[in-house]
């Protein structure tokens, strides 16, 4: 029964969030709580020659200043520091471990004081002398030192030969700058000292169990010594996938002082965490005169740190998406004196598909073909890289529905041909693609005889709506009103869940709820079938369903036993079941979500000001569990795409290896006035192969393709092709 799944149910945590009751990591109270403040390195590479904390220690209210020289023990092996999502190659950063400086903004001391202002003030009194070493932070300057990450995928055919022979060819570099997540919540940890070396750690994270295992390893603790809790996360977008240094330092402080410690990073300090790595994306396309692709090559050159090789799939999308007999792909890394990049919303795809889809637009111009027509010409019903059919792929329908809603057929293909008063109008489009991933997740359901259920799991809700979809799926599976379902998430002591990322949590948590609910139904059937003259006496589990507070026969819901009666008969008050759901491996299908994005921009011809006046995003992502929160997720992704296209970029002064705009006044993210009409269309995409409910996930797909659609619209408006993002007005006025 689907009373809730597929409906626009309002967020079950909505009331907590609009009343200020929802507590985030840095807001949990504790007796005797003290406050930390981080001192950061101001050089990108070298060692600490001298660190003088005496003046800071003299400030009244300062309790301690922890440095590499006086800290409690930290694990000395990389295994302990490698969390669930750490890069395979490398040696993870260890805060306050030794005197080595690996990046500008690296934490080098933690001041702990009775009050936050005191700690902040005392941090300014810590004196540091460095022994600076030579460094490099400029990806474009160091492009020549790029090395292949892993071995490249097997090329198809002879791409170089096909490109040389191609009737129409396009080749260009697209440059995506470093970008920072900038979640609204500052990174924070409250490490509550529970006595006896035990801690409850409230942390801003996308994975409480990842942080739990990591802390146990780093501090040599037993699993029962530490509990990690994170009921609300004020945005993360990938920045909370790996444990960040503030959780190490807050825990370190609590262990050193045997007191509860809160550490909240400043906005500026958060620029020392992970980021979307700057990439140079070189795409070459060769086509026949009718638009059929004959060759695709995509080479990505990305920044990483000197101590870890972080790489994501930038080029695989070009490999998979379009039909082409010849292709070659490679991903190269340049090690620089910066912190390790990390996942940021649609990692790899946001950048790689941006380049691919701008290149496709340029090819369409060269071919004098409509950009949608070119995509249809190269459309593939099979994943080109693995030559596999998809579990489902309604991208064709996305193009059709999106184009129709946008009014694409009225487009005059000539650049600078459309106007609205003194503004040039441009229409552009692009394709989006992301993976449909799913992971093992366990859920516990405790059903009480009064028809209430508590559903719990260690998974996080980072604003994605996990609380709500878990409640919806549980209400349907248990046949109860949603008001009777309470959901507990993001506590490391709850049943197993991976980090929340990659758009995998919707499918993964929903099917774990189904699995646990089936165990509950099994128990109820066992009780109900034994009752005197039971209408379910000879019923098989597969013939039963939970509906309206009863267990009933699927084909005749009137033949039923109420949950209360079944439990009373069994003389029990509650049924508690936990089940780990694992998905069958399917190597015969490719699993992806797709979108078609259409953008309208208006460009002031004299001032170069660009406004995104309209976006239509038509998304095929299997079954949509919640049309309200799902629409919001895609809309949010579109806003991210506007940011990528027009606003965002972390600017480094390479003379000092230091970020120049580490704040949200100078690192621009879209504001309300930057965002106008966003039309999200969910294309029907039944999927009988991917999983029982046909769910694919929505967190990432919303952003993919949007920057390219906007860049292509800017070209159509102005005739200027900007390949270096973001597209700021100075680039149009050049």
């Amino acid at each position: 029964m689907n009373a809730y799944v597929g409906t626009p149910t309002s967020r079950v945590d909505g009331r907590a969030k609009v009343t200020g009751a929802a507590k985030y990591a840095g807001e949990f109270p504790a007796d005797g709580l003290v406050h930390g403040f981080v001192v950061e390195a101001t050089i990108p590479r070298g060692r600490i020659a001298r660190l003088d904390t005496s003046a800071a220690l003299q400030v009244k209210g300062v309790l301690d200043v922890l440095t590499h020289a006086n800290r409690p023990p930290l694990a000395g092996n990389d295994e302990a520091w490698k969390d669930e999502v750490a890069p395979e190659k490398g040696s993870p950063f260890r805060p306050l471990y030794d005197d080595t400086i690996k990046f500008n903004g690296q934490p080098i001391a933690l001041v702990v004081a009775e009050e936050w202002e005191t700690a902040k003030f005392a941090a300014t009194l810590v004196r540091v002398e460095y022994e600076p070493h030579g460094f490099a932070t400029d990806l474009e300057g160091e492009r020549g030192s790029a090395v292949e990450f892993d071995k490249p995928h097997e090329p198809r055919g002879d791409a170089a030969g096909a490109l040389a022979r191609a009737a129409v060819r396009h080749e260009a570099d697209y440059v995506i700058p470093t970008e920072h997540h900038n979640p609204m919540e500052l990174f924070a940890t409250t490490a509550v000292w529970d006595g006896d070396g035990k801690l409850t750690v409230y942390d801003k994270t996308q994975g409480v169990q990842n942080v739990h295992k990591f802390l146990c390893g780093v501090f040599d603790k037993k699993p029962d010594d530490i509990r990690v809790v994170s009921p609300y996360v004020g945005g993360a977008f990938g920045s909370g996938l790996r444990p960040q240094y503030q959780v190490v330092l807050a825990t370190l402080g609590a262990l050193a002082l045997k007191r509860s410690v809160r550490l909240v990073l400043t906005r500026q300090q958060m620029y020392g965490l992970g980021y979307r790595p700057m990439t140079i994306e070189r795409v070459a396309l060769g086509a026949k005169t009718d638009g059929a692709l004959d060759a695709v090559t995509h080479e990505a050159i990305a920044v990483t740190s000197r101590y870890e090789d972080f790489a994501r799939n930038d080029t695989g999308w070009a490999e998979q998406l379009y039909s082409s007999p010849n292709s070659r792909f490679s991903h190269k890394l340049v090690q620089l004196d910066v912190s390790t990049p990390c996942d940021m919303r649609a990692p790899g795809a946001a950048s790689g598909v941006c380049a691919l889809e701008c290149a496709m637009d340029e090819l369409a111009v060269a071919l004098k073909l409509d950009p949608v027509e070119l995509r249809l010409k190269c459309y593939s019903d099979r994943d080109q890289s693995e030559n596999l059919p998809y579990t489902s792929k309604q991208l064709r329908e996305c193009y059709a529905r999106g184009a129709d809603a946008f009014g694409w057929s009225k487009r005059n293909p000539a650049p600078r041909s459309m106007r609205d008063g003194k503004e040039l109008v441009g229409w552009g489009m692009a394709t989006g693609v992301w993976e449909a991933l799913q992971m093992p997740v366990a859920v516990r359901i405790v059903l009480t005889s009064n028809g209430h259920a508590e559903v719990s799991c260690a998974a996080s809700d980072i604003g994605t709506g996990t609380y709500t979809i878990v409640a919806q799926v549980a209400a349907d599976a248990l046949g109860l009103p949603i008001e009777n379902i309470s959901v507990k998430l993001a506590d490391s002591s709850l049943p197993q869940a991976p980090v929340e990322g990659g758009s995998w949590m919707a499918a993964s948590s929903a099917h774990a709820v189904l699995a646990a609910a089936e165990e509950v139904r099994k128990e109820l059937l066992s009780l109900a079938s034994k009752m005197h003259r039971s209408p379910l006496a000879d019923a098989e589990l597969t013939d039963t369903v939970l509906v309206d507070g009863t267990i009933a026969r699927t084909n005749d819901n009137s033949r039923a036993v109420s949950i209360a009666d079944a439990m009373r008969h069994g003389n029990i008050e509650r049924i508690a079941k936990e089940k780990l759901n694992q998905f069958d491996e399917d190597k015969k299908h490719a699993r992806n979500t797709h979108s078609a994005v259409f953008a309208e921009v208006k460009v002031d011809e004299e001032l170069g000001v660009i406004r995104v006046s309209r976006i239509v995003s038509a998304v095929a992502a299997g079954r949509i569990l919640n049309t309200k929160t799902g629409r919001s997720q895609v809309m949010g992704g579109v806003v991210w795409g506007i940011g990528m296209a027009l606003h965002e970029g972390t600017v480094m002064d390479h003379r000092f290896g230091r970020i120049m705009n580490p704040n949200i006044a100078e690192y621009h993210i879209p504001v309300n006035a930057d965002v106008r009409d966003i039309d999200v269309i969910f294309v029907d995409e039944p999927d009988a192969h991917i999983n029982k409910l046909g769910i694919k996930g929505l967190g990432e797909i919303g952003v993919v393709g949007v920057p390219a659609a906007i860049a292509n619209a800017v070209y159509h408006a102005t005739g200027k092709r900007i390949r270096r993002f973001p597209i700021t007005l100075d680039k149009l006025l050049d």
């Binding site: 309002s10 967020r11 909505g14 009331r15 969030k17 609009v18 009343t19 200020g20 009751a21 929802a22 507590k23 985030y24 003046a55 003299q58 400030v59 009244k60 209210g61 009050e115 936050w116 202002e117 005191t118 003030f121 009194l125 997540h181 979640p183 609204m184 919540e185 500052l186 609300y232 996360v233 004020g234 945005g235 993360a236 977008f237 909240v264 400043t266 906005r267 604003g463 994605t464 709506g465 309200k628 929160t629 919001s632 809309m635 949010g636 992704g637 579109v638 806003v639 991210w640 704040n663 949200i664 006044a665 879209p670 504001v671 309300n672 006035a673 930057d674 965002v675 106008r676 009409d677």
Partner: protein, 163 residues
């Protein structure tokens, strides 16, 4: 450096009327209204997103006007009436803006939400915003990284009672 510069400032008595309740505090002059609320009164509904007046997450109403509480020293508001997100609902009944934010899914992570709602309450009181464009413009001091802006505009329009 002179030793004197390392001493902490004297505390000053401050009276704030927070959501209708008199609160007496002894605060250092450098304590912001935001930190007074969060750290000294334990009212964490008001959020810190930048501490520099760049994001609007800390927006509260001071004597009915919306301000960034991170750019406001608490001692300068002695005697002022402060309304925070915790003070908008009346008993169990949500403020029309709070309900509208839920109805229109005008948030995801919820961290900017108290500031958005307080800012919107200030906006309605100002009476300057007549249409969606003006709402967008006058709400642009409140950043939302989840990108809920179109829903925020729709929620405010619902609370205004006009499209």
């Amino acid at each position: 450096m002179a030793q004197a510069s390392h001493q902490m400032p004297e505390r000053i008595p401050v009276n704030l009327v927070v959501n209708g309740t008199n609160r007496d505090l002894d605060l250092a002059p450098w304590t912001t209204l935001l930190d007074a609320l969060r750290d000294h009164l334990g009212m964490t509904g008001t959020k810190k997103g930048c501490d520099h007046g760049q994001c609007g997450a800390c927006t509260v109403l001071v004597d009915g006007r919306r301000v960034n509480s991170c750019l406001t020293l608490a001692v300068m508001k002695d005697g002022a009436e402060i309304t925070t997100i915790e003070g908008l609902a009346e008993d169990a009944t949500l403020h029309p803006l709070q309900q509208a934010f839920i109805d229109h899914d005008a948030f995801q992570c919820g961290y900017c939400t108290p500031g958005q709602i307080c800012s919107a309450a200030g906006l309605l009181a100002e009476g300057h915003a007549k249409d969606a464009d003006e709402i967008r413009e006058l709400m642009s001091g409140n950043l939302c990284r989840c990108g809920a802006y179109p829903n925020i505009v729709a929620a405010i329009q619902q609370a205004m009672g006009r499209p």
